[in-house]
């Protein structure tokens, strides 16, 4: 038995890196400390795709990697409008090959941000993002706001490691000396911990943010007695708490990016942060979901110039979310083949998109079976990054951390599978041009 410390979790955007595990006979046998229950489950391993497979007459039939790579390359090379989607639950090294493959194919490359924090990216492109690293929040913040997020259940270590419960340089007393504000449409495990719980009406985030903004800018007089289900009294109290902070930190989640005014909610949340900044230090940070969704945005940006929804048909990058994000492309029935990696559009896309995706040839690369596997035509099992493979990832605050390899895998890494597909596509194109 070997004990491995400083293990980095490849589950959510928290990317906890202080986990200790035990490894025996090339298996993670115990997660001793550091991980939340979901992270622990990933580290311990579960149900895997067993073999590469190609769908024949409606059934997935096991095949060799060579056969699957040949088939995948043929599908992609023959496609006139391929879509390469996913990229958030794998490492940057694989993402880079993905961008290169997209460039070679003249494909559209999009990542899970487009159905997640895509609206946040649009808001940042509108007004910017006054933010900070998570350690900065840990050491300084005395007022924490979670808006449309439920970290107690979705990012289970977030409060303990970085925000409300953690102890840092100026926050030695931990939560005793901090205030927690939670804004949500319903009571959750997180709201139970809050000093202030603003239960707002569904879809009224924009109004409540506007009201707080007005108060912070000294225009409380224009705010009516109730806004979006919240009393003016509670809004005034919250604004006072924000103004009185030494350092305030807002975190926001899916509850506000994908409801009502969508990206305009986030613009308003950022503007509220700027308003608070006229009184004291205030920051705002999106609660990124997958462990490396921030990373694919980074890689895609430094390589193509743009973070998601990038069309490479013209040989250069054309960015137009709303037209070129995966769901839009699929709803318009434009794409005629797709490669899906480290994600599950089969479970998360709107029905109409999935309907078209199920009709076109789909290549899937993933360690784990999921609803997308049910209609995938070529399936590649891959090593689990962070357990069986190492590589770079970006935490939700864009801090790069290297995942560790704990055990050997019988499956190849994402990067290797993608490189082999890319080589095969190039070989096919070379042949065609001769």
């Amino acid at each position: 038995m070997v004990e491995v410390t400083d293990v980095v979790c490849s589950l959510c955007g928290c990317v906890c890196d202080d986990i200790t595990v035990e490894v025996e006979d090339n298996k993670v046998t115990k997660v001793k400390r550091g991980a939340c229950s979901v992270g622990k489950s990933k580290l311990m391993g579960h149900n895997r795709i067993k073999s590469p497979a190609i769908r024949v007459n409606g059934e997935l039939k096991d095949c060799s990697y060579d056969e699957a790579i040949k088939k995948a390359a043929e599908i992609l090379a023959a496609s006139r409008r391929p879509l390469l989607y996913g990229w958030s639950s794998t490492v940057c090294e694989a993402d880079k090959v993905g961008v290169e493959l997209a460039e070679e194919l003249g494909a559209v490359i999009d990542n899970t941000a487009s159905v997640c924090h895509g609206p946040s990216v649009l808001a940042i492109q509108d007004v910017g993002l006054p933010s900070c690293t998570l350690g900065e929040v840990k050491n300084r913040a005395d007022v924490i706001i979670y808006w449309g997020a439920n970290p107690a259940e979705a990012h289970a270590n977030h409060m303990k490691r970085y925000s409300y419960v953690s102890k840092g340089f100026w926050t030695e007393e931990g939560k005793k000396a901090k205030k927690l504000v939670v804004v949500d449409v319903r009571a959750t495990k997180t709201t139970k911990m809050a000093d202030v719980f603003l239960q707002i009406e569904q879809g009224k985030d924009y109004l409540v943010l506007s009201a707080l903004r007005a108060i912070l800018y000294g225009h409380a007089d224009v705010v009516p007695d109730e806004v979006g289900g919240v009393s003016k009294k509670d809004l005034l109290e919250t604004a006072e708490m924000m103004k009185g902070a030494k350092f305030g930190a807002t975190f926001f989640g899916m509850g506000v990016t994908h409801t009502g005014a969508r990206q305009n909610n986030i613009v308003n949340a950022i503007q509220m942060t700027r308003a608070a900044h006229t009184h004291t230090k205030f920051t705002i940070t999106p609660m990124r979901g997958h462990y490396n969704v921030a990373g694919i945005n980074q890689v895609c940006t430094w390589e193509t110039g743009f973070p998601f929804a990038v069309d490479l048909t013209r040989g250069y990058a054309w960015y137009n979310p709303g037209e070129l994000s995966a769901t839009d492309l699929l709803i318009r029935q434009e794409c005629d083949a797709a490669l899906v990696i480290a994600s599950d559009p089969g479970a998360h896309f709107p029905g109409e998109s999935i309907k078209h995706l199920a009709k076109v040839p789909v290549i899937q690369i993933d360690p784990f079976p999921n609803p997308t596997t049910e209609f995938a035509d070529v399936v590649f099992p891959a090593a689990v990054s962070g357990v069986e493979a190492e590589g770079n990832v970006y935490r939700m605050d864009n801090i790069p951390i290297r995942l560790r390899k704990l055990i050997d895998s019988e499956y190849p890494e994402d990067e290797e599978i993608l490189k082999r597909i890319l080589d095969e596509v190039r070989a096919i194109k070379e042949k065609e041009s001769n």
């Binding site: 410390t5 492109q125 300084r140 110039g305 743009f306 250069y316 990058a317």
Partner: protein, 562 residues
């Protein structure tokens, strides 16, 4: 053995005192040699030949550069170019993608670029982007001045322990030298505040002046190739020239065994301001140049303005906040725990604005008023005062009084009262241009000892052949020649021919590994371990940059002086 012979060129190689001589350059296996036997011959036909350009200060890779790209798709769309058989796709103007950065620098004859600000905690990011930047050799300067370890050691007067920490950071980040950006001010920005040179930083009880001096001493104890590299306090504030001069004085008594300055101040244009507000704002380039002329311990780069839209970005968080307050445009900020911060906001330098006009003049004035070109480097602080692609404009202005007069006539008339530029007659020679773009910069970085910035035997086979004769005086033709080389040769390989990129080899990453006494390191590690146990959000073992991030390493070893 791959051999190249460049014949019939007129060579400007200042580090070897070659001033426009007709001279052959021989390269074998990537290095300059005395003679070759069976070379590929490049006939330069009387054109200007220089060593590959060495940029001393540019923001080309890392978190804030990429945040700039991400939040400015409107800039990304300005520079779109399709992939070719050789090149990958390109985007961006002030914040180009990594591929475009490599190609565009190479086309200007540059082969080495220093990334000027690397947050240690995010060093992996900087390296990831540098690896993805083709052709260019590179290095990065870790930010060390708002760092809690630094401030605590400076407060205790423990310069040896500070040196041990600096040594550790260089190794942990694969960094090249000590970067200082608004010392104290960025830590105070953690609370939304700022400070000036002699203010005390609360909690840490040090002044920015003490931080600068302490790091200057530690840097020389480690015998680093480069001096401390300083972005002084109060960037962009009217009247800040006094603070800049006072900053130089801080390290006047610091000794070095190296043959170079003990302080390099960067983008000095932003720090040469007179007046008390934007109304009576004026150039004090003469004051700064006067100081540099009278002293030998400090060098500067100019950070000259390129008119038009750009993206400003710096670890000076409070400065970017001030700028955003002025323009009301979008603003991104990213404070980094225990270490540093950063801010980004777009900015338009307009010739119609009196303030921008004076700023535009100051950078060029500095270059013209500093008498010894070995004390000054050409930069735009890319992309802060403008994108690096504007270098040829600056070169043509420095070489042509006529060009400056024509340009000045298009600017706000304030240029004739509050700036000095119209009154200066000096014109740079090609030899002096070669100094401020390669000879001086390589020497100031200590890279001349590692084959950069010159063409002596043993130097790297990095050569730029510009499509102009040494007698050319037409500013337009000079600008055109410096934008797209006839040939750029990198490590003996032709990478640009007739202004087109023809090969894209990987660049090397230069980093410094200073060694110091184990006992000193052990003592330092106790304090550092406590910082990780209690305050950092990553563990000590996950912090250092792994070898995988530097696939083409060039290590420079140094030893701490007792």
């Amino acid at each position: 053995m791959a051999e190249v012979l460049i014949k019939n060129g007129v060579v400007y190689d200042p580090l070897n005192g070659v001033k426009g001589e007709k001279k052959d350059i021989c390269i074998r296996d990537g290095k300059v040699v005395a003679e070759v036997k069976n070379p590929k011959v490049i006939d330069a036909e009387g054109r200007v030949v220089m060593p590959g350009g060495v940029d001393i200060h540019s923001h080309i890779a890392g978190g804030k550069v990429n945040s700039g790209r991400l939040f400015r798709p409107e800039d990304g769309r300005k520079g779109l170019e399709a992939k070719t058989k050789v090149c990958r796709m390109q985007s961006g103007y002030s914040v180009p993608n990594t591929f475009a950065i490599g190609y565009r620098y190479a086309k200007m004859g540059y082969t080495f670029v220093m990334e000027a600000a690397m947050p240690p905690l995010a060093a992996r990011h900087t390296h990831e982007e540098m690896v993805d930047t083709p052709i260019l050799d590179n290095a990065a300067l870790p930010l060390l001045d708002n760092n809690w370890m630094t401030m605590e050691y400076v407060n205790g007067g423990d310069i040896d322990l500070l040196a041990a920490y600096v040594a550790w950071i260089m190794k942990a980040t694969k960094g090249f030298g000590v970067k200082i950006v608004n010392p104290g001010g960025t830590e105070m920005w953690g609370w939304g505040k700022n400070c000036s040179l002699n203010d005390t930083v609360p909690t840490f009880n040090v002044t920015p002046a003490e931080i600068i001096k302490g790091l200057g001493e530690a840097n020389e104890k480690l015998e680093m190739p480069h001096s401390i590299h300083v972005h002084t306090n109060m960037l962009g504030h009217p009247g800040n020239f006094e603070i800049t001069k006072e900053t130089y004085d801080l390290v006047k008594g610091v000794n070095t065994v190296k043959d170079r300055q003990v302080m390099h101040t960067t983008h000095t244009q932003f720090h040469s301001y007179g007046g008390t507000n934007w109304g009576d704002f004026e150039s004090k380039a003469d004051e700064i140049a006067g100081y540099i002329n009278q002293n030998d311990h400090a060098t500067i780069d100019i950070g000259s303005v390129i008119l038009g839209d750009t993206t400003t970005m710096t670890a000076d968080g409070p400065m970017e906040y001030n700028l955003y307050q002025i323009t009301g445009r979008k603003w991104t900020n990213h404070d980094v725990e225990l270490e540093t911060g950063s801010g980004i906001t777009p900015f338009l330098y307009s010739g119609k604005s009196p303030v921008n006009t004076i700023q535009w003049a100051i950078g060029v004035e500095l270059a013209l008023l500093v008498e010894d070109p070995w004390k000054i480097a050409l930069t735009t602080d890319h992309p802060n005062a403008g994108p690096f692609i504007g270098y040829p404009i600056l070169i043509s202005m420095l070489m042509s009084k006529k060009r400056r007069d024509e340009s000045s006539a298009d600017m706000h008339k304030v240029i004739y009262d509050k700036a000095l530029l119209p009154s200066i007659d000096r014109e740079y020679s090609l030899y002096e241009i070669a100094i401020i773009t390669r000879g001086m910069t390589a020497k100031a970085l200590g890279l001349h000892e590692h084959g950069k910035g010159h063409l002596g035997v043993g130097a790297d086979g990095d050569v730029a052949i510009y499509d102009m004769s040494p007698e050319e005086t037409d500013a337009g033709k000079i600008q055109k020649a410096f934008l797209n080389t006839k040939y750029t040769i990198k490590g003996g390989q032709i990478v640009v021919k007739d202004g087109e990129v023809v090969a894209t080899p990987d660049g090397k990453t230069y980093f410094v590994t200073p060694e110091c006494d184990d006992k000193l390191t052990d003592e330092m590690m106790v304090k550092l371990k406590d910082k990780f146990d209690r305050y950092y959000s990553v563990t000590l073992n996950n912090y250092p940059v792994q070898d995988a991030y530097v696939p083409n390493p060039y290590e420079i070893k140094t030893q701490m002086r007792g």
